[in-house]
Subunit: 510 residues, 2 copies
């Protein structure tokens, strides 16, 4: 019987490829989100943040944002660029933000839903460095960026490319976004995040999506096809590039995760309640601005509150404070009925036990806290300075486990199995029962990275650690990667667009 089971299983798995993994699919959290604060406490944070916005306000360095907010009724002090918000204006504006929206991918089977209990797992975006066990840590570069996107494409549990895995520092700073966009379009058919550092980078993303999807800007506004992260410059400041990016995204109807970077003890108060108050004030101000730019603009409430190590000033991630702040942020986002964005983070410098338990703290608190989009869901290392190939695999395994955990347990006559337990009786075993044989192939989560063999078999096959196995897995995924088909006419049009724009951005170079 055991032999027969093995054969049947292997036949099924052979069809999946060399790395066993879950299929691409929508993930829905049907469990009640965790709450760590009372409704009264959430209301206290809400009211304190409204008081901050009314009394102190936000320094808005971007002129267009200031004048838009002024027209909408905010009080602008031209002497110090301070914008103060009447509480009723904030309450009114944030009400137009949708609780749910969709995101197109160039492969429609990979379209995404944001909100309504759906979860989106995005790969890490923005690191300056890249790392793997064989070659160590190095500056971000175009070749590694492309390989990373290839592995992201191969990992079914990742829904979205998260906005460039590592900065391609070997390319021109002012035009490398074009190279990233073109690579993201070519190398994966998943949705990808664009850059919002300045309005022209947003415009280029939208133009290239228009070419890729064969849709007008108006069509893209109705069916958004990219997303970006906008960080306030905590405390209480919005700079020019981020202001430009915000306005360009919202005008184009593309969603933004508005994410204050409130490190408790450094850029925000040393108390978590204080850091959350400041986070909430900044998030509400940016959400208000997005709604002023374009009522109904899709946004996410971003939470990133963590703390610094008070001995060294180093940021800490995946800490107990981080977990509590994320769960409270989810409660705040639900109060506003706006999808919640959080992250899978660690301060570890290696793909080791610390990376695993800090990411575990992040994933449990964000997912059970009701998150809609997990940015950096896979790959982030070293407080976000590095994209690691092995961490990408480690995180993909943890994401698969959480996805399986979110599938509710079926409870019915058949699954309660009273008749089967009766049939087996005291002292028997269930391996050979009809109930088992009819269900064993899909009964349990099948790991990609975990090794469940006994000590002897594990030792004989090399006693490889989880990190060693992750190294083999990403190399295998890269080796078996096949570029998803893209119409050659579209690819050529994209190449022409990129060439033209590079010539405009830095004439005569390249």
């Amino acid at each position: 019987m055991a032999r027969n089971m093995l054969n049947r299983r292997e036949r099924r798995l052979a069809t999946v490829g060399t790395v066993r993994q879950m299929p691409f699919g929508n993930v829905v959290n049907r469990y009640t989100p965790i709450a760590i604060m009372s409704a009264d406490e959430i209301e206290s944070i809400h009211l304190a943040s409204l008081r901050l916005l009314a009394e102190i306000g936000i320094e808005v360095l971007h002129e267009e944002s200031r004048s838009l907010l002024k027209s909408a009724g905010a009080e602008v002090d031209a002497s110090n660029l301070r914008v103060r918000f009447d509480p009723s204006m904030v309450e009114e504006k944030i009400r137009t933000a949708p609780s749910r929206f969709t995101l197109q991918a160039r492969n429609p089977a990979r379209n995404l839903t944001v909100g309504d209990g759906s979860l989106i797992f995005a790969s890490t975006g923005g690191p300056a460095f890249v790392h793997d066990m064989d070659r160590g840590r190095r500056a971000g570069n175009y070749a590694d960026m492309c390989d990373y996107i290839r592995v992201v494409h191969q990992l079914n549990v990742i829904h979205q490319e998260g906005g460039c895995p590592c900065e391609p520092t070997d390319l021109q700073p002012d035009s490398r976004h074009l190279d990233f966009y073109h690579a993201a379009i070519r190398l994966t058919d998943k949705n990808w995040q664009c850059w919002a550092l300045g309005g022209y980078r947003v415009e280029d993303a939208i133009e290239m999506l228009s070419i890729t999807l064969g849709q007008t800007r108006e069509q893209l506004r109705e069916n958004p096809a990219t997303l970006t992260i906008i960080n306030s410059n905590s405390p209480l400041r919005l700079d020019v590039p981020m202001g430009e990016g915000l306005c360009a995204m919202s005008r184009a109807g593309q969603p933004i995760a508005l994410t204050p970077f409130t490190l408790s003890g450094a850029m925000s108060p040393v108390t978590i309640a204080g850091a959350l108050t400041q986070q909430n004030a900044e998030a509400l101000a940016l959400i208000t601005l997005a709604q002023v730019v374009s009522p109904g603009a899709p946004v996410l409430y971003g939470g990133f509150t963590s703390n610094v190590d008070m001995r060294t000033g180093s940021p800490a991630f995946g800490t107990p404070e981080y977990a509590k702040a994320q769960i409270a942020s989810g409660q705040l986002a639900r109060r506003y009925n706006i999808p919640f964005r959080s992250s899978n983070v660690t301060a570890s410098n290696a793909v080791d036990v610390q990376a695993a338990y800090e990411s575990g703290m992040s994933l449990w608190s964000t997912i059970m806290g009701g998150v809609s989009l997990i940015e950096h869901a896979a790959g982030w290392l070293e407080g976000g300075l590095t994209a690691s190939f092995e961490k990408l695999i480690l995180d993909a395994e943890m994401l698969q486990m959480m996805r399986s955990f979110l599938e509710p347990v079926r409870v019915d006559e058949d699954s309660l199995a009273v008749d089967t337990i009766s049939e087996v009786g005291p002292g028997g075993h269930f391996f050979g029962t009809g109930h088992t044989l009819a269900r064993f192939e899909n009964a349990f989560y099948e790991p990609m990275l975990s090794d469940w063999r006994n000590f002897e078999n594990w030792s004989e096959s090399g006693a490889r650690s989880g990190t060693d196995r992750a190294n083999a897995i990403w190399k295998d995924l890269l080796r078996t990667y096949e570029q998803p088909p893209l119409d050659p006419g579209i690819d050529e049009a994209l190449s022409e667009y990129v060439a033209r724009r590079k010539e405009e951005i830095h004439p005569g170079r390249d």
Copy 2:
């Protein structure tokens, strides 16, 4: 300012010793436990398990248990040793189990509360092997057992010794419990778990506790001082040694965690609902027996439902199925108002990322599922075959993080910090504010194992992984260990007791 902060911090830490850790203390979970099943689904499992107990019953190999259950109204079939329970009898008997009880330690500052939201973290109990990075894996032995208990004593986050870290296979099998008990009493002043494999091992524990604490058996019954785990032999069987141990413990008023070992797909149905039904039937039968032996006997509802790898038959731990089963078990235990026992488990063969994420799945699901006692909370490796010194430290760090996570966020005028945020204003920083300076020393969780330094500093100091650091920590704790004082008269009386009992158990040996 940063320099000043560093100095103040170091002065405070110098008083704690070489390894920074939290003080010993009571841990209370004030958050609402997670639920993954509806009340109706829990009721379906309850009713299905009562049907199993009425129709199939349990095979009880222990004669005294059978006759006690018969006197209490159960139906006993002498031809196959089957005991069937009327649902109303089960409902009536389990009602006498207390929802809360206490456990004495020889140091009263380490007394424990079971139930009422309190959490007890017990070190791993029962492994056959022991492991550390320097010496590798070896058979359990007396010297390692003692060293392990010493490190358990040193780790403040561990509340209870979990019933012998590794089997001292170099000692006589039928009397080594005496050596373990004596070592546990000498080497730590924390509460410790006894062995229930046969009634005489329980009796020896109680006699030795009576000597240690200077209390009569009647006093110990009123104030229990040890605890044990009783496993049913799933499916649906109670063997002689476990039956003896159960009766002896309950008669003596010492608490038992009644824990079916229901591996889904092997000793229980391949469906999680079915495995939970069988777990619940076995747990209710054993709880009923304990209450028949002694109404009001302290018990815990034990959940251990996990699954096997259907390809190899290997048990898997810390899986998504395990997490769901633990949360559902917590819901069942709360339905009966009985404290819930669960575990921190992994199938990994190394102290690697897999060990960390499987333990992370275990800790989040059990703690947020409302657990009262986490057995194997620290140290378990290889599906419980091995006690690892490095895993002990890894788990202690994760337990500290969960303990810190369970401290609710304070939300009040002071912590909301609106005035401080106003004082700092846009673009400032919070390092030097009075609000920060008054709070920074205890503001955030301080890790024992995590390294939050930046990549450069971490690399310069040897680029040690978390597992390497865990190795240094347990050796440091062992090096600085001091045996807690024990009255020499008591120790001598214990030695005499052990010598006399060994002579009784195997005359002329030793």
